[in-house]
Subunit: 177 residues, 4 copies
């Protein structure tokens, strides 16, 4: 589908580090949801991940767009990587994200924080129809009701502004916030 | 699901006619599409309908929202009415329409024309996953590629501005227009 | 501009009451905001209104779309009616609302409540550049910061779900919620 | 406003070239428009630029987001660079773009073409209220009606898919397409 080489294989860690210090990195953020037959959100899927400092936090699906890669391909790749190959994500018909998340090494700039880089995240809400088998470095996947996912307790378990992203996703869909 | 009585059964034709002369009528417009595994549109479903004047024209799914009815329920009801009960429409996660279509009895007001009424259409693009059996007063349902659906020939077979609505739907999704 | 007669002058209260019992009524909801030179919201304008039961509540600009009236005209008419003729509202370039608010006489249906009718509100965020002179039945207009407007105290002073609409408006713009 | 250093001054051409070969570059695309008091587009501003091969083409405002720079700051910077300091652009209240433009060195991938790089463009429609003095490397700025801007003649004068972007921008606003 993609007619130019992607850089996944040949970009060394060192090269990536250097590029990351020079350019904002394009990310896709996907909030996995279960929906009923009317398209209404019944549950939000939050991943449990170990962080570099050893702590554990909840997060949505998120990852880098490769050189040469289409946005939709990157979304599917990260959803499959985190939720497993049988998750059956239903990507939205539009490539326009519901919001843009601006992550900065300095947490005070936008409230969205990524200690490694300046990243520009295109954010989507993605219904998941299949079975999820958290893969990769995901410790667990929990499906929470909209009320649970935006409760103070759960919000406190998300870092870097991911809790705000979940609230914004629910607000976008018209769900109670 | 809906806790108040809807007016479908008790609103007489005469009452509806009178109300239609006094208030804009809320409509939902749904552009049925087939999508690939990446959410990209592969085909657009256009209905073939007989019009009051005996002519035949192509159209998207469209219909009135009842008193007491939720937008999502109205969308599902009209999709099922026109495409049959096995169509498996996948409503978007957000209730925000991609555009608003303002239909007027005078075709020069907005370019969108409905000789019967002033209608305000909330427009959605809806992926269809199941089998369609055109029902109700639909003569036929044709799946066309985006290029075909926006060709001058097919656009000429749509009335009331429906051809513009199809172009707007494709533009919204990021498809070639 | 509008080539057909609007019903403002000839629709009696009785006729309107009858129509309102038969059809959902089209509304426009406008959240007035002050923005900085980057388009970022610095303040949200909340109206103080007396309610039929004698209580007072805060609200955004909201009102009915007339028969024959364009959405943009209705928005400007209600903004002028509530904020005065010098408010200089800057309508968005798109007529697509950021959300749809479904008001029902039964507050349990959607959480958005209007005791008089089933209304379908097209909701917009509208920057205000001029001077506001609350007019009509507005007791006062207060500009609050996003944090203030979504504080529990202020949310408690809004009824019918208007507090949720303000949160949804802020979430839509990418502001902290 | 921005609390971290941007890379504008210290990123050498060579470093930028290397980074561009490794990561998609974040761009902002702004379609400058004149609007009437109802927010309706009356004209679209197209820049006339000399291209590297000596040909001349029409284009919208477009440019890179710097490391450490907010999206809104990048938009204002490029609008001022191309339209001059008195253009008074009115950025939208939401940072969510109306579409994402995926530019590739290979023009067959998405139809949007940039021979220099893989760029991910966040696209906005931006009303311009002030006086424009095309600056930088802009030869001229022409304001065209929506019908003119989407005519076959003008579309033929745009390269890299910019003509499609203009059509998508108009479709997004609800204007005739």
């Amino acid at each position: 589908m993609t007619h130019i080489q992607t850089q996944s294989t040949w970009l060394s860690d060192e090269e990536l580090r250097l590029a990351r210090e020079r350019l904002p990195v394009v990310y896709v953020d996907a909030v996995p949801v279960r929906v009923d037959e009317q398209g209404r959100i019944t549950a939000i899927g939050l991943l449990l991940r170990a962080r570099p400092d050893g702590s554990i936090s909840r997060a949505v699906v998120s990852g880098r767009v490769w050189y040469g890669e289409r946005i939709r391909s990157a979304l599917l790749r990260h959803l499959e990587k985190d939720l497993g190959p049988l998750a059956l994500p239903k990507l939205p018909v539009t490539v326009a994200p519901f919001t843009i998340v601006e992550y900065f090494p300095d947490p005070t700039v936008s409230g969205f924080h990524d200690p490694r880089q300046h990243a520009v995240g295109l954010a989507y809400v993605v219904p998941i129809e299949g079975d999820c088998r958290p893969a990769h470095d995901v410790l667990d996947l929990t499906w929470l009701s909209p009320a649970e996912a935006t409760s103070p307790e759960v919000r406190a378990e998300m870092t870097g502004g991911q809790d705000r992203l979940v609230v914004m996703a629910l607000a976008y869909t018209g769900e109670s916030v």
